[in-house]
Symmetry: C2
Subunit: 311 residues, 2 copies
């Protein structure tokens, strides 16, 4: 079932709102002036951190935090701070991923990558700085009055980002490359669930935590986040296989060029598209179990958007 | 006033205890088997994280956490977890610092650096993994039953490690190198207070937080940590100026070779030594204000140890 033109317009409006609110929150957190807390801010490092996190990106992860919390009736500064902290983690991972020793990319979001615009050492430190600052922002009392919630959010964010999540997934991807051994389908699914899926799942889970979801709502939203994350990754593989560099704002065809196995290379384009559609359906069905229809419409649209995106 | 032979023996015993307890805690946290929480652990990444954090180092920062908490009557698992998380941050910073794009060092603690033993990409990810895991460990309920304390520790650790602390100090150091402009004495002091001082201060502050220090004790201990941190850095500059590579277990004479200004190059060896002695005296006087003498003896010894160390 497709959305009405009106629902589609609403969705675009919500996407824009999330992007603008995240940009403004990040800009405030990474302000160039010395803050009241008297923390010195080395200008070149801060400039690199701003370059890496401001002025670009779909802000999909912040959008999911914001819309999941809003589904449960919660909006405001705390939600935006958690959304922005998550985006810092996403941006740091791109900076480190683009380094010569990693993917060695020169282009990101249509601009020179951080180590090209600055230098490698500054890019390494900017990534470290963004990663560290994310936990500062979440743990700060300005994010939420309840310290248990703050500690829980820090723990969930660290797990989604670390050894058992994003960083671990990158390492699995890298290990396959070093061993020059294409991964099996099951291994690709596990690697992707860690590398990209974990942060997307955290986005939805964080929104549920901030919105004080009931246990039933939580598990429905976790299932939604899982399906959406898997759909996102297949769409990414499809885009890499058939996308062009200009539309993507980053180099296309990387996986094939490296002989890396993806779901597209294993299943073929047609079957990959079908699997992606199934995952969107799964995501939608999971939302039905929150008992919050029709307010779930924006998140439903998000699953379709993720699967159909062109960059 | 020098310590008695007996006090000296006690101090060595406490140092050994901290090193062994930290090693055991880190080994447990970085165990190679899949943990009950079902987190997948990519083996090569985990191996690199273990390589970078196990089997070496004086464990000075954990020692300061442990002894400060013990001064206030608190010992046990929670203290060891915070001490180990702090050591993870210290170890990640060494891994990233040693990278070719940064200090380009081949030797650390008498062994090949992480990117030499593994590869650059794995070293970058291992650093990211250790940094992220540190916040996981602190935020976990296994560290302390009080969520406010856990959130406060996360916040303090993030601030000590990030833009306004360690990473910021590294960036200031780097910026001076890129600009090929030796820093002034005031700039060196600020850079060092951030680059090395912030984590040492956090070690003492974390011990005070875990030990539920009174406001007066807290501010006395913070003053102690500040003086000890400054003494540590001067001793480091002295060691770099006159040390030899074998005793240090890392390359000596790096600063002079790069024409970098240090307190030793600005003040001369004699005046630097004198300043170091003054700082030890300041640290001791700060401890007197905790009202906990003579139990403060181990921390007093620590300040002398830091100033007099030979590696």
């Amino acid at each position: 079932m497709n959305a009405s033109p009106r629902a589609d317009e609403d969705f675009r409006h919500r996407l824009d709102f999330a992007a603008e609110a995240t940009e403004a929150t990040l800009a405030g957190l990474l302000a160039t002036q010395r803050l009241p807390d008297e923390i010195a801010r080395p200008s070149r490092l801060l400039e690199a951190m701003r370059y890496a996190s401001l002025g670009g990106g779909k802000r999909l992860r912040p959008f999911l935090v914001i819309e999941t919390a809003r589904l449960l009736g919660v909006e405001g500064t705390g939600v935006l701070r958690v959304a922005s902290a998550l985006e810092m983690i996403h941006c740091y991972s791109l900076v480190h991923d683009d380094l010569p020793a990693m993917d060695d990319d020169d282009l990101r979001r249509g601009r020179p990558t951080c180590h090209k615009a600055f230098d490698e050492a500054t890019a390494i430190l900017a990534g470290d700085g963004l990663l560290t600052y994310a936990f500062d922002v979440v743990a700060d009392a300005a994010t939420h009055e309840d310290p248990t919630l703050r500690a829980d959010l820090v723990l969930a964010l660290a797990r989604a980002s670390g050894l058992g999540g994003m960083v671990g997934g990158q390492a699995l991807d890298l290990a396959a490359e070093i061993a020059a051994r294409p991964l099996s389908q099951a291994e690709i699914l596990e690697m992707q669930a860690m590398k990209t899926g974990a942060l997307l799942r955290f986005a939805v889970d964080a929104g549920a935590m901030l919105g004080r979801a009931s246990p039933q709502q939580s598990s429905a939203l976790t299932a939604y986040g899982k399906a959406l994350g898997a759909a996102f990754q297949i769409a990414d593989d499809i885009l890499d296989a058939e996308g062009d560099t200009v539309a993507l704002g980053k180099r296309a065809g990387k996986d094939a060029a490296r002989g890396k196995a993806t779901l597209v290379s294993l299943l073929g384009l047609e079957a990959a598209r079908k699997r992606c559609d199934q995952l969107v359906e799964e995501a939608t069905q999971a939302l039905d179990k929150t008992g919050l229809k029709p307010a779930t419409q924006t998140l439903e649209q998000a699953a379709r958007f993720v699967a159909a995106r062109r960059n």
